[in-house]
């Protein structure tokens, strides 16, 4: 099975003015596509890994032959992370359901969660991701470098925010905090709630 770039469930301009159409198009058709292409390239000649999803591959990196482990970690991670990211973006959705309750229970309030998540995303040095994960039943905010996924350390992503500069440079340049604020305007809480329910 060859890995494929997923189609976005919305148009590139659907998240304007928070995420601009040009960034969305390059991010999806160039950056994400490159991870898919390089993942497929790394897997060539490794038929035993056929049929495994990117998420399955990065959930057990020790099972990946050492010669391609780094490439699968980077490009499998890039593929899985971006696929999740696109799926949790939609304008105008308010926090809902059991995830909203669990966030209040864990972080005190929705605002306190936003503050802590933003601090993690804002202070992550270099390229990487900020995550809300389910870690054995506990909600937790974590950062990962580059394309590392929480799945590789047994944590299930509920929300992921790409803080590579390519995610925001055309619109926000060096102003990552403004991009993080914009993210909360396009966060699809209904989808995040689905991921939370599925993670339990």
């Amino acid at each position: 099975m060859s890995h494929k770039l997923p189609e976005l469930p919305y148009t590139y301009d659907a998240l304007e003015p928070f995420f601009d159409a040009q960034t969305m198009e390059i991010h999806h058709t160039k950056h994400h596509q490159t991870y898919v292409t390089k993942l497929n390239g790394a897997l060539e000649g490794h038929g035993e890994l056929n049929g495994k999803t990117a998420e399955e591959l990065i959930s057990d990196l020790n099972a990946i032959p050492e010669s391609i482990r780094g490439a699968v970690r980077n490009h499998g991670g890039g593929h899985a992370n971006h696929s999740l990211f696109w799926s949790i973006l939609k304008k105008g959705v308010a926090p809902v359901g059991e995830l909203s309750d669990a966030i209040k229970a864990q972080f005190g309030s929705q605002d306190a969660f936003k503050e802590q998540f933003s601090a993690t995303a804002g202070s992550l040095f270099g390229s990487g991701w900020a995550w809300l994960v389910n870690n054995n039943g506990e909600l937790e905010i974590v950062g990962t470098p580059n394309q590392d996924s929480p799945l590789s350390v047994g944590k299930t992503p509920i929300i992921g925010l790409d803080v590579w500069e390519h995610a925001y440079y055309l619109k926000y340049q060096n102003r990552r905090p403004e991009y993080i604020n914009a993210f909360f305007e396009v966060l699809n809480w209904e989808k995040a709630n689905e991921y939370f329910l599925a993670s339990r």
Binding site: F125, H166, Q173
Partner: protein, 191 residues
């Protein structure tokens, strides 16, 4: 001791269109400046308050290291590129590169391959290692060869902010351009 943002060794529009004035407005005016500002705030009341950049880089870690190394790395990078053409490396530098990488062209190829494969944010360097040999090394994020006892000779910034305005995702195109902009006199002066 307060660290200062050094002047650029060229006019902000001197590298256009290879590296635009807009890129430099952000890369130098915002990113480099922010590392200087952050470093000056972070060292207050620490053992590094009066230390040189090199001393901080070799002894500090965490945010102080990150900001000090980024101040150093960017200043070094500006000196590594220049408007106009160059005859390429001469004399001792030329013969050292040839003996380490076979030829100048082969060195440039290897340097670009290394920089293209530097995953995430970071820097690609030509260094003189402790034993005197020349090597190409990649560092991640703020990483600097001084921490490994090597002497930086040349660097290329591969953080996306270095090329995103001008080249978008096309890092290889930026690297091809970089290849023709190297200030070999500066590289030779570091030997």
């Amino acid at each position: 001791m307060s660290h200062e943002l050094p002047s650029l060794p060229f006019a902000q529009d001197a590298l256009a269109p290879k590296i635009s004035a807009e890129t430099l407005e952000f890369h130098y005016g915002k990113h480099h400046q922010a590392y200087v500002t952050n470093l000056n705030k972070l060292i207050v009341g620490t053992a590094f308050e009066n230390a040189s950049l090199e001393e901080i880089i070799t002894k500090a870690d965490g945010a102080i290291f990150n900001n000090a190394a980024q101040v150093y790395n960017h200043t070094f990078y500006w000196n590594c590129i220049a408007p106009g053409s160059s005859d390429g490396p001469q004399g001792e530098l030329k013969s050292k590169i040839e003996s380490a990488f076979d030829s100048i062209e082969s060195f440039k190829e290897k340097f670009i391959v290394s920089a293209a494969g530097n995953f995430g944010s970071g820097w690609t360097w030509l260094v003189k290692s402790a034993d005197g040999s020349l090597k190409i090394v990649n560092t991640s994020n703020a990483g600097n060869p001084l921490t490994d006892g090597a002497k930086p000779l040349l660097t290329c910034d591969v953080w996306e902010h270095a090329y995103y305005i001008d080249y978008r995702n096309a890092r290889p195109k930026y690297l091809e351009t970089f290849r023709g902009m190297i200030n070999w006199d500066f590289v030779a002066s570091n030997l």
